[in-house]
Symmetry: C2
Subunit: 341 residues, 2 copies
DNA sequence: ATGAAAGCGCTAACAG
DNA sequence: CTGTTAGCGCTTTCAT
C-alpha cells in the first residue's frame, strides 16, 4: 500500500496526498477529507524508509544504559521516555553491560541506523570517540561521568559533594569509625564518591583505614561480599557508607545474617534512593539521586540540541542536578523515623 | 557520504560497491579489498533508509511493556534483548502505561516504522486488532494474557495452577483464614489468579469471604492500601496471598506498621519472585514466574516466525512456561529458612 | 566479475 | 490549491 495507490483511488496526484500528510493546511478541506478517507479504506500508512530517505530524520533517539535490570537506570529511562513520547519520538534502548567494546559497537549501530540523537548513561566513551560521532551530525548527551569526557553535553550530579553531605551527617550523629563500600562501576562516579569520603573524614579530623574501604561489583551480591570482608575484621567499622542502594541491600543482608543490628551495631547509608530502599528493614538512609529528573533533563537538552539544527556550534553544556540526603532509619538518626513512603 | 562517492573514489560502479556489502563472495578478492579500504577512508556507512526502502526490513523489533519501572517487565526485556542482540537486531522499547489507547497508538507507530516483529507484554489488544496487524506482514508474539486473545502466538504461565500450588501450600502448613490481594492489572492474569484462589479454597473444603479479597492498583502503594482495608476488619485474615511481589511489599509494610508480625500474625505469599523479594524482612515466599525465560522464549518464537517468512500460515503457538513456588520465611514454613540468595 | 539502469515510496521544488 | 517531476541512496536484474 503506497502513496500512488492512494492518489489513484482518490483521483489526485501523489503530491496532494503527500501534502495532506506533511502540510495539511496547504490543501483544500474537502479534498483533504476525501483523501483521508481513502487512506483509511486502504489501510495506508506512509513508508518510513522512503520518508526517512528524503528527510534524513528518523524520529528515533537511542538510549544506551549499562544494565537493564538496574532500577536506577530504568528511572532515567522513564524520564527520557516521557519527553520522547511527548515529542512523538521513539526510543531505541540498548544495553552495554558495562563493556566499552559493546558500547562502541552499539553506538556505531545507532549511527548507521540514523537515529536523531543519542543519550549515553555512564558512558565509557572518551572525548575522541565523541568527536568522531559528532561528525555524523547526531546530537549526543551524556548522563553521569564514567571516563574523562569534558567538553561533552553532560547531565550529572556532584557525587563528591553528595557523599560529603552524607558522611558529615554520619559524623554529626555520632559515628566515628566509618567504612565505605563502593562499586567497580561506574568508575569515575565512584571515584568521586571515594574521594569525597576520604576528604570529608580528614576535614572532620577523623582517620579512615584502608582496610575499611572495600571495592566490589555493583550488585546485591557485591554488597554482600564486601560486607563479609568488612565484618570479618577484628576491628570492624561502626558505620558504612555504600556507593549504591543496590550494594547497601546486599550489605544489610550480610550484617543481619551475622547477627548484628542496624543501626545500633552498624549504621548503613546508601546512595541512589531507589524506591525499594524505603521498604527495607530498617529503612535505608540514602542520598537521593534524582534519576528520573536526570533522564528528563538530558532528554530535553538532547531535543534542544537536535532542534537548533545546523546552527553555530553551540558550547557544550554541563548541567548539575542536585542530590539530597534522605534520612531514614538505617543510619541511626533519631528524628525522622515516621515516614511511610 | 554515499555509495556513489565510494564508487567514484574506488573507480568502480555503485553496483560493485553494493555487492561487497551484500554479496561479498560475488566480487573479486582484490577489488573487494580495495573498495573496503576506500570505505574505511571515507568513513562510509550505508544509509539505513535507502537500504530499508529496498529490502523492506529494519532489523528492529519492538517491545511494548506496560511499565518501565516494573522489575518483572524488565526481566522479560532482558530476555528479549539477549536474543535480539545475538541476532544483531535492535529493540525499540515502549511503554503503554496500562492504557489500551496508548497501546494501539504505539502499535500503529511500530507498523509505520516497519519494525520486523513485535512483542507485546500483557497486551490489551483483542483478536480483531491482532488480525489487523497481521495484514501488515509483521510477526507478533504476546507474553501473558490480558484480554481474550486466543489464536495469537502466546507465551504465558498458568496462573491458575501456580496460584493453586501456592494456596495449597499455605493450607498445608496450617493457614485457614486466607485472604487475597490482587492488582487491577494485568486483568486476565489476575482474574486467573483469583479464580485459582477461590477454587482451591473450595476444593480444600475452606470458605473464602468476599471481604477478605481486595483489589487495588498493582503497585507498592496499592498493596499498602489493600492491606489497610484488610487489617481494619474485625475478623481479619491470618494469611494473605498477593498477586504480585510489588503489592506484597506494600502490604508487608502496612502489616509491620500495624504492629503485627509476619508470618506469626499474618503470613504473606507473593507472586513473581522479584530479585528484591529475597531481601525483604521477612524474606518473601512467592511464586517464581520465570520472566527472563519468558522473554527469551518469546523472542525466539518471534524470530522463528520472522524467518519462516512468507511460508504457509503457521498455526499460532501457545507456549506454557512453568512457574514454581519459592518457599521462604514470610509464609511461616519452618523448613527452608537458611537460604541466602 | 563488473556495469548500466530501473525503481523502492516519498517529499519538495517548481509550474501552473 | 494542485500536478509534474527530480531525486534521496541503495539493491538488483540484465547485460556484457
Amino acid at each position: 500500500m503506497n502513496i500512488k495507490s492512494v492518489a489513484k483511488k482518490a483521483g489526485v496526484s501523489v503530491a496532494t496526498v503527500s501534502r495532506v500528510l506533511n502540510h495539511p493546511d496547504a490543501v483544500a478541506p474537502d479534498t483533504k477529507e476525501h483523501i483521508l478517507s481513502v487512506m483509511e479504506s486502504l489501510d495506508y500508512t506512509p513508508n518510513w524508509f522512503a520518508r526517512g530517505l528524503k528527510l534524513n530524520r528518523t524520529g528515533v533517539i537511542a538510549l544506551l544504559i549499562p544494565d537493564i535490570l538496574d532500577l536506577g537506570y530504568m528511572e532515567i529511562a522513564k524520564g527520557v521516555e516521557d519527553v520522547a513520547h511527548q515529542k512523538k519520538y521513539n526510543i531505541m534502548l540498548c544495553t552495554t553491560e558495562e563493556d566499552r567494546g559493546k558500547e562502541k559497537e552499539q553506538v556505531e549501530n545507532f549511527l548507521t541506523r540514523k537515529v536523531d540523537g543519542i543519550i549515553l548513561v555512564s558512558s565509557f566513551l572518551k572525548n575522541s570517540d565523541l568527536q568522531q560521532i559528532k561528525k555524523q551530525d547526531v546530537s549526543v548527551v551524556l548522563i553521569g561521568k564514567n571516563e574523562d569526557n569534558t567538553g561533552a553535553n553532560l547531565v550529572y550530579t556532584d557525587y563528591k559533594a553528595a557523599t560529603s553531605e552524607a558522611v558529615k551527617h554520619m559524623i554529626e550523629i555520632g559515628h566515628r569509625k566509618i567504612g565505605m563500600i563502593y562499586g567497580t562501576r561506574p568508575k569515575l562516579e565512584n571515584m568521586d564518591k571515594l574521594e569525597g569520603f576520604k576528604k570529608t573524614l580528614m576535614e572532620e579530623g577523623l582517620n579512615y583505614r584502608d582496610s575499611h574501604i572495600v571495592e566490589e561489583e555493583n550488585s546485591i551480591e557485591g554488597g554482600y561480599l564486601a560486607a563479609s570482608k568488612l565484618l570479618n575484621q577484628a576491628d570492624r567499622p561502626e558505620a558504612l557508607f555504600v556507593s549504591s542502594d543496590t550494594m547497601a541491600i546486599g550489605a544489610m543482608e550480610k550484617i543481619k545474617q551475622t547477627g548484628l543490628r542496624i543501626p545500633q551495631d552498624i549504621a548503613v547509608v546508601g546512595f541512589d534512593n531507589l524506591k525499594i530502599s524505603g521498604f527495607m528493614e530498617p529503612k535505608l538512609t540514602t542520598v537521593a539521586k534524582p534519576m528520573y529528573r536526570m533522564g528528563l533533563v538530558a532528554a530535553r537538552l538532547l531535543f534542544d540540541l537536535m532542534e537548533e539544527d545546523e546552527q553555530k556550534e553551540q558550547e557544550p553544556q554541563e548541567i548539575l542536578i542536585q542530590s539530597k540526603l534522605k534520612v531514614r532509619k538505617s543510619c541511626g538518626h533519631q528524628d525522622r523515623l515516621k515516614e511511610i513512603f
